[in-house]
């Protein structure tokens, strides 16, 4: 096997480990948020350093492969994609940390009514699923699965768009929930960003496998 193939396989394994770690961070932040579990939230915050370390390692390895092996064609696209995916995953890691910090700072569990009207829980589940799907698409080189992520992002965008009005209406009758509403709105905004990042990652997977640039294009044409 040519040395570059070995290096690319190792890089792929590292990227998958990063994905698994970030997914675990996002899922744990969700559980911490659901159960108001401050200990679990603290664990997410402390593990963020690992995500950062993993990002730096992948960046360095990409730099070395570029410098030593001058990759071309699919190898070049793979490396360019991994660099960008790495950056997107790190940002999702930051978002998981941010949600965990809200849980640590929040004074009381979010009310069921607020959770229901904002639809934040299905939104959170969908964003975790999107991230899982991108990982599976990357591992199995499945561009159909990668494309399915675009549709899921619309669901997140819809919830995000409506959150402001839903909360505004609620706060007219329940001004005492203002603080919680602001927390929730912030988390919804963060989850919407997770959707965007997952979509970016899916675009990179398609770029790497099919050499098609889907950025800034209508994905459903």
């Amino acid at each position: 096997m040519a040395q570059i193939e070995t290096e690319l396989q190792l890089l792929k394994a590292e990227a998958i480990n990063m994905w698994t770690l970030v997914n675990s961070q996002l899922s744990k932040a969700r559980l911490a948020f659901l159960n108001f579990d401050k200990d679990l939230a603290r664990e997410v915050v402390s593990k963020e350093k690992r995500v950062n370390g993993s990002e730096l390692k992948i960046d360095r390895d990409c730099e070395n492969i570029f410098a030593l092996f001058c990759p071309v064609a699919i190898d070049l696209r793979f490396l360019l994609a991994v660099l960008k995916i790495n950056s997107n995953l790190e940002r999702i890691g930051d978002i998981a940390e941010g949600i965990a910090k809200y849980v640590i700072d929040a004074e009381a569990h979010f009310t069921k009514e607020l959770l229901d009207i904002t639809r934040i829980l299905p939104m959170y589940e969908e964003s975790v699923k999107m991230l899982e799907d991108t990982q599976e698409a990357f591992e199995k080189e499945d561009t159909i699965l990668a494309r399915s992520v675009f549709k899921k992002d619309d669901f997140l965008d819809d919830i995000n768009r409506q959150a402001h009005k839903v909360l505004e209406r609620h706060l007219k009758d329940h001004p005492e929930d203002t603080s919680q509403a602001l927390w929730l709105l912030s988390i919804i905004r963060k989850l919407e960003r997770v959707g965007d990042q997952a979509k970016n990652v899916a675009e990179e997977i398609i770029f790497y496998l099919e050499a098609k640039v889907l950025k800034h294009k209508n994905k459903f044409v």
């Binding site: 096997m1 040519a2 040395q3 570059i4 730099e63 070395n64 410098a67 030593l68 092996f69 001058c70």
Partner: protein
């Protein structure tokens, strides 16, 4: 911890009054692949030929300073003994044209007058050809002339000939410059396998080859060793401006 096998200290080499290798200090770790690169006339091949004392074969050639293998001064040893420990492979595949593949592999023993039982010769031939991934391709044609092989196979046969003497170090002078890309790739893959048993020092004009195959890289310029470091560092963050200019093609 990695141990040093070849060490040069204040090493110089000249052709008459032409000082071509200037005060080179370098430590080469065991079981590593070392690439030596630099522009034409920088002294890299001369330095390589000093390691197994081939430089002195040229009339008017001189050298000074310290060159050791396993802390023993190479220039205090008998040259034949040095060349048994330090094998060399050249730019163009040069199997002995009148010898069979079998006899090419054990040529080093024959030329040195070492007589071996047939079984031992057979073992060396199979072992050496296996080491260079050539055994399966030629095992049924051992009595054919080496010159019947393709360029890449001939070069691997030459490496097998060097390996047959059980050296500790293998020197390569532009080993793939006469080969096509597929043969080059085969030989480059071989380097990775050989380093488990030998230390490889490869002079190459091909920067990408240096980057692909070596653990450490030395950059020579106008007879000086400008920089010597891990290949990853040399190709991502060289310390010397001259190295940077050379590897980025901005050399004037």
């Amino acid at each position: 911890m990695e141990s040093t096998i070849i060490k040069s200290k204040g090493f110089n080499a000249s052709f008459g009054s032409n000082h071509v290798v200037k005060n080179v200090n370098i430590e080469i770790p065991r079981n590593h692949v070392i690439a030596v690169m630099g522009p034409s006339g920088c002294g890299k091949t001369t330095y390589l030929r000093c390691i197994n004392r081939m430089h002195e074969l040229i009339p008017g050639a001189t050298s000074s300073g310290e060159m050791t293998i396993n802390n023993e001064n190479i220039y205090d040893m008998h040259p034949i003994f040095v060349r048994q420990k330090i094998g060399m492979v050249f730019q163009r595949p040069n199997p002995f044209p009148n010898l069979s593949i079998y006899d090419n592999v054990i040529a080093g023993y024959k030329l040195n007058g070492i007589r071996l039982p047939k079984a031992e010769r057979d073992r060396i031939v199979e072992h050496s050809l296996t080491r260079v991934a050539l055994w399966k391709e030629v095992k049924d044609a051992l009595n054919k002339k080496g010159s019947f092989l393709s360029g890449g196979q001939q070069q691997r046969l030459c490496i097998a000939r060097a390996v047959a003497m059980e050296p500790e170090v293998l020197l390569f002078d532009e080993p793939t410059s006469a080969l096509d890309p597929i043969s080059t790739s085969t030989v480059e893959e071989l380097f990775h396998e050989l380093k488990a048993n030998y230390t490889l020092i490869i002079v190459t004009h091909n920067m990408q080859q240096a980057a692909r195959v070596s653990d450490k890289t030395a950059f020579f310029y106008m007879g000086e060793l400008v920089e010597y470091d891990e290949t990853k560092i040399m190709f991502t963050n060289p310390k010397d401006k001259r190295t940077q200019n050379y590897i980025t093609g901005r050399f004037s």
